[in-house]
């Protein structure tokens, strides 16, 4: 346990030393919130709406944080370690690569929660945003959304022959989903043609689920989103695991 804690500590330090991961997980979403909050405030999104603009933005930006860690930071670390044979080196110690990979998953998940907590605190302090849903529903949704994002990243590392291909897949899917899912631009502004593409993206369902439970809707009213995200998690993790069985780690 002491050994695993030490590995986690080291992976946390390495995560924070990587400008891209640290900034886009902890800094950028918070910056977006402050920037757009200073323009729009937390006024209702449309006349008569219960939800303020920032109250809708916080859960959407939370999904953005999950995308950074699940589709960028975690898979790119995994692909890099694999290509440079760093896992192989750890395999040649009593620790083994399993503990390193587990630590990387945990650290990335912890950083995701840190980024989201930062968003919640900033929203609360600066714009008086509220979470109207139950804490239980919010937590369940967070876990399901994070699992779906990380499973996509995991599959991309398994598909990519090398780190370059994994990077390409991750960047492509991350940015397409970022802009077409409603995580950055509210989906109500999308034309119908974009909306028809958007509904096929897992991140769109994550944004819908998170915005819904934050606004006080029950998990039961988001059965479709839960089903899609659950299926993505199972299929992508399973697919990645099958592909990894065929890979040569040495």
């Amino acid at each position: 346990m002491k050994r695993f804690a030490m590995i986690c500590k080291m992976e946390t330090i390495l995560f924070l030393r990587d400008f891209f991961s640290a900034f886009f997980t902890l800094g950028f979403p918070a910056l977006m919130l402050v920037m757009f909050g200073s323009i729009y405030g937390n006024e209702p999104m449309y006349p008569g709406a219960d939800l303020g603009a920032m109250e809708a933005s916080v859960p959407a930006y939370a999904v953005m944080v999950m995308g950074v860690t699940g589709l960028m930071a975690f898979p790119l670390t995994l692909a890099g370690y694999k290509e440079k044979k760093i896992y192989k080196r750890f395999d040649a110690t009593p620790a083994g690569k399993g503990q390193i990979i587990l630590a990387q998953v945990l650290v990335n998940v912890a950083m995701t929660f840190s980024g989201i907590v930062l968003l919640l605190l900033l929203g609360k302090i600066l714009y008086h945003t509220r979470i109207q849903g139950s804490i239980g529903s919010v937590c369940v949704s967070l876990v399901i959304c994070i699992a779906a994002m990380f499973s996509m990243g995991f599959l991309f590392t398994a598909i990519g022959r090398d780190a370059k291909i994994t990077n390409l897949l991750c960047y492509l899917f991350y940015f397409v989903m970022l802009f077409l899912s409603g995580a950055t631009i509210p989906d109500m502004l999308f034309p119908e043609s974009v909306k028809s593409v958007s509904k096929f993206l897992p991140m769109t369902h994550a944004v819908d689920l998170m915005q819904g439970v934050f606004a006080g809707e029950s998990l039961g009213s988001h059965g479709a989103e839960l089903l899609v995200l659950g299926a993505v998690t199972i299929l992508f993790t399973g697919g990645g695991a099958v592909l990894y069985q065929k890979k040569d780690w040495a």
Binding site: K2, R3, M6, I7, M10, I13, L14, R17, D18, Y81, K84, K85, I86, K88, R89, D91, A92, T93, P94, A95, G96, A250
Partner: protein, 257 residues
């Protein structure tokens, strides 16, 4: 007679259709240094990676400390240190941090501060591993292989990239380590290193075992394969090896000498 630390019998390993290792048998006893030699692509690294538990053999038996290293890898690594042929470390980690991390993997780690000064890396403690020179990285790899106070060390190209002075310093260090009863497997292209350190030699070519025995027996083996008019008793191991390997490539004596 001391029980063998490594026991390999009829080892076979295939990568897709390529037979990388064919029917290789050898053993290593405590306090013994085995040098694995042979041309590039002869199966040296594949053979030692089976010993290291990093590759699963297709057939044959590999036992390290009496255990199958593929099955009991973590257990075996408590007493085995390795230096891999090609390896990197997380690019943003510092030398001292990496040493502390590796020290944490073992129940009774070596004093890594002393190892840092022995490897002349003391001043690089706060430097990122990615900023080290090739030779410094190589010394760091050697240092990390010693972290668990191993009873067996497997070194794949121990002194590649090191200057002659450091190579000789490492030879002396390894000679001392061997004298304390530690066994070593040394994959090397440097025959002067093999001459200086090895007790026994495993010579591979195209994945097949050509020779396994002592240095003196290797001389006898070579003598039997070199014509009398080419033979000289004073030949170094390197010259013997060069005379043996190009036979298949049609290179003449004049090309070598």
């Amino acid at each position: 007679m001391a029980e063998a630390i490594i026991q390999v019998e009829s080892l076979n390993l295939t990568y897709r259709s390529i037979r990388a290792v064919q029917d290789v048998t050898f053993s290593v006893k405590p306090g013994e240094i085995l040098a694995v030699i042979g041309p590039n692509g002869s199966g040296k690294t594949s053979t030692v990676e089976c010993v290291e538990g990093l590759r699963k053999p297709d057939s044959g038996t590999v036992r390290v400390f009496g255990k199958d290293p593929w099955v009991h890898r973590n257990e075996v690594y408590r007493s085995m240190g390795v230096q891999l042929q090609e390896t990197e470390y997380p690019s943003k980690i510092r030398v001292g941090e990496l040493c502390r991390l590796f020290a944490g993997f073992y129940d009774r780690p070596a004093d890594w501060n002393a190892l840092l000064s022995q490897m002349e890396l003391e001043e690089k403690r706060n430097r990122r591993v990615s900023k080290l020179s090739g030779g410094e990285k190589q010394r760091l790899s050697v240092l990390l292989s010693l972290m668990g106070r191993p009873k067996l060390i497997v070194m794949d190209e121990l002194t590649t990239g090191l200057d002659p002075e450091m190579r000789r310093q490492i030879w002396v260090s390894f000679e001392n380590i061997r004298n304390s009863g530690v066994a070593m497997v040394l994959v090397s292209h440097y025959l002067d290193e093999v001459e200086a350190l090895a007790d026994r030699i495993l010579y591979l070519e195209k994945g097949t075992q050509q020779f396994f025995g002592t240095k003196q027996e290797f001389r006898e083996y070579a003598k039997g394969r070199i014509s009398e008019n080419e033979w000289d008793d004073s030949f170094s191991l390197e010259k013997l090896y060069l005379l043996l390997t190009p036979k298949q490539k049609g290179i003449s004596m004049e090309d070598i000498l």
